[in-house]
């Protein structure tokens, strides 16, 4: 595994990850800006909040992960829990 001659893969280079993330952040920013340029149809009142979908998507995932982590305290057991 630790063969020194092993090929260096794309994500082995931190600068590649850095580049990928920068591109990703740029798209995120453009998507928020697009909200102010393009016209969206509105079905519900809360859709009028600027960048509603962006904020909601971000918040939803943070809430999801935070709650799921808390759930671990209650629900998590050892791998062989049922085999005992």
């Amino acid at each position: 595994m630790s063969d020194k001659n092993e090929k260096v893969y794309f994500f082995d280079r931190p600068e590649n990850i850095e580049r990928l993330l920068k591109g990703f952040y740029a798209i995120c920013i453009l998507l928020v800006l697009a909200d102010f340029v393009l016209h969206r149809h509105i079905g519900f009142g809360w859709e009028e909040i600027p960048a509603f979908y962006s904020l909601y998507g971000f918040a939803a995932c943070v809430v999801l992960v935070v709650i799921a982590k808390k759930m671990r305290n209650v629900l998590m057991r050892k791998e062989d829990y049922y085999d005992e």
């Binding site: 595994m1 090929k7 893969y9 994500f11 082995d12 993330l21 990703f24 952040y25 798209i27 995120c28 998507l31 928020v32 697009a34 909200d35 393009l38 016209h39 969206r40 149809h41 079905g43 519900f44 809360w46 859709e47 960048a51 979908y53 962006s54 904020l55 909601y56 998507g57 971000f58 918040a59 939803a60 995932c61 943070v62 809430v63 999801l64 992960v65 935070v66 709650i67 799921a68 982590k69 759930m71 671990r72 209650v74 629900l75 998590m76 057991r77 050892k78 791998e79 829990y81 049922y82 085999d83």
Partner: protein, 565 residues
């Protein structure tokens, strides 16, 4: 006569597969879904039906309308892709099980009455469990048994409901039933509910599917729940309770999916989540919502199959599928990685991929019917899907930290099967008009407008941003070797532990009663031996032999008296 029910070919194939090996068998397995698909396409027309009668009851083996026909095509496609994926498998019983299982699914969606439906409903249960048992481990054996109990229970409820329904209405026809049908309606509703993994009734799925074989799970993910979705759409469209059930199904599994370590179990949870979108659509009951539910079932079978195939390929090559021990596999399985990402983008409903064109119909229908808060919850579930199925699955298997595992690319047949599924995902996503044209209800709908695309892209990209941010902050829960308690805890832990407690306490009671009673008993015995009665022969000891002897004597005497008296 060219009209025969499409399941027939599959059942004949199941027989043939038992007697053939290698290439002939592989050809049979590939030809069966193709021929059946062509048969559906060329010979079968909407409105046709085939009846048979048993004990003076007219039963409908095949009823064709656009709804059953769409599922017919879908199951042929799923069976074809699954057969390619399982091309290398030598195990005869797995092939027989898979072909019978697919045939039963076809039989069920074309069934025109409740009894025929029940027969195929049970065949689905019995054939599919072998795909779990074929894994050969003790865990799989036990999980399969638990799975079978749920499935058979569902069948029993269906039969009971059908009989009550017949008693009430005098009809066995499987059309709209509704909950107004009283007890019969509820019995059938719960039967369908078990198979579509309603909350609290879902644990057979998350318990059983991850224990099945590499190829078995691919078949399992395609048929059982989709037959149930079909049955709900046929029998209970527009029942409002389904909206609430569906939203619950879409929301609760994503929490489990985030902390689950077994990646095939993550997919099992996300299967429930996707079925939640379908069930919601059926509950709304408008033409757009029903079309959305059906279309989503169609795309789900293909992208979920693709995801299960990619995780199956990893399991096949690496030997385990725990997120905690995988990572960096893109180095040795680059093609599988790309194909998995296509599946991940499809399930996340990325524009240009299949999930987008079907899920957006259900979301739009929720909006039209003014379910504001439920719509928000479903939007939460949509973001959650991307988070656990769209990002977590590919990330922890193929990227994350390099686990050091170096293996081979998936076998060629698996790559072909995954590629077909991936192409279909993109085809449906970019050319949805063909899928829309097959949908049962007439509705004008087009998903690609600025509003939808922009909203969906913002939602998804910022969900991904949350993932990046949480990971950078070290807030993301690491993959840990563990199990998480779910509904199965009740019957895998609570009931056995309670039963054991009862047995132990009974044993303790017996011991304490004995210890209390022994002294007086011995006392009585001593007194008895000292008494004058004790000298008679029979009271000395009571061997069984002498008891048998005296009983025989009594019997013979009785017989003699009876014969002569």
């Amino acid at each position: 006569m060219s009209e025969f029910s499409p399941f027939l070919l599959f059942f004949i194939a199941a027989l043939l597969v038992g007697f053939t090996r290698d290439l002939p068998r592989q050809l049979i397995l590939l030809a069966t879904p193709v021929l059946t698909g062509l048969h559906l396409w060329l010979n079968i027309e909407v409105g046709s039906s085939v009846s048979y009668s048993i004990m003076n009851y007219e039963l409908v083996a095949m009823r064709v309308d656009k709804l059953s026909l769409l599922f017919g095509y879908l199951f042929c496609i799923a069976s074809f892709i699954g057969s390619i994926f399982a091309f290398h498998v030598k195990d005869t019983k797995q092939h027989i099980a898979a072909v019978t299982y697919a045939g039963s699914a076809l039989g069920a969606v074309f069934a025109g009455d409740l009894i025929t439906l029940f027969i195929f409903w049970e065949l689905l249960a019995i054939s599919s469990v072998f795909l779990i048992w074929a894994r050969g481990t003790e865990r799989a054996l036990k999980a399969g048994l638990r799975y079978l109990v749920f499935q058979v229970l569902s069948g029993v409820l269906l039969l009971a409901g059908a009989l009550v329904y017949f008693h009430d209405t005098g009809s066995l026809a499987f059309d709209h039933i509704g909950l107004d049908a009283g007890i019969a309606g509820w019995l059938i509703f719960i039967a369908f509910g078990i198979k579509s993994a309603f909350p609290f009734l879902h644990s057979w799925l998350t318990d059983g599917y991850p224990e099945a074989t590499v190829t078995g799970t691919v078949f399992l993910s395609a048929f059982t729940t989709k037959v149930a979705v079909y049955a709900l759409a046929r029998g209970f469209a527009g029942e409002e309770i389904l909206v609430y059930i569906g939203v619950t199904m879409a929301c609760f599994p994503i929490f489990y999916a985030v902390i689950e370590n077994d990646l095939r179990k993550v997919l099992a949870y996300s299967l429930i989540n996707q079925v939640g979108f379908m069930v919601t659509g059926i509950g709304i009951g408008t033409a757009l919502a029903l079309n959305g539910a059906i279309a989503h079932a169609f795309s789900d079978v293909i992208f979920k199959g693709l995801l299960f195939m990619s995780m199956g390929a990893v399991l096949y090559r690496v030997g385990n599928i725990n997120g905690s021990s995988l990572g960096g596999l893109y180095k040795s399985m680059p093609k599988t990685t790309v194909l998995c990402i296509v599946g991940a983008l499809s399930i996340s409903a990325f524009p240009l991929f299949s999930g987008f064109v079907s899920k957006s119909m259900v979301m739009t229908a929720l909006m039209y019917e003014d379910y504001g808060y439920l719509w928000l919850l479903m939007l939460f579930a949509s973001a959650g899907v991307f988070h656990h199925a769209g990002i977590k699955i590919p990330y922890f298997a193929f990227f994350a930290h390099d686990s050091g595992i170096r293996t081979e690319e998936a076998p060629r047949n698996m790559l072909i099967a995954m590629s077909i599924a991936a192409l279909l995902c993109i085809f449906i996503g970019t050319q949805p008009q063909y899928l829309y044209a097959m949908l049962p209800w007439e509705v004008e709908y087009w998903p690609y407008d600025v509003t939808h695309v922009l909203a969906q892209l913002q939602l998804l990209f910022f969900s991904a941003l949350a993932f990046v941010w949480l990971n950078k902050k070290g807030l993301y829960p690491p993959e840990l070797p563990s199990v998480n308690l779910d509904m199965e805890w009740f019957y895998r832990k609570l009931v056995p532990v309670a039963a054991q407690r009862v047995v132990t306490s009974l044993r303790d009671t017996k011991a304490s009663v004995l210890s209390i009673a022994t002294v007086p008993m011995q006392d009585i015995q001593t007194k008895f031996t000292k008494s004058s009665v004790a000298k008679y022969y029979l009271s000395e000891s009571w061997p069984t032999g002498s008891m048998v002897f005296w009983i025989s004597v009594i019997l013979v005497t009785f017989l003699a008296l009876n014969a002569f008296g």
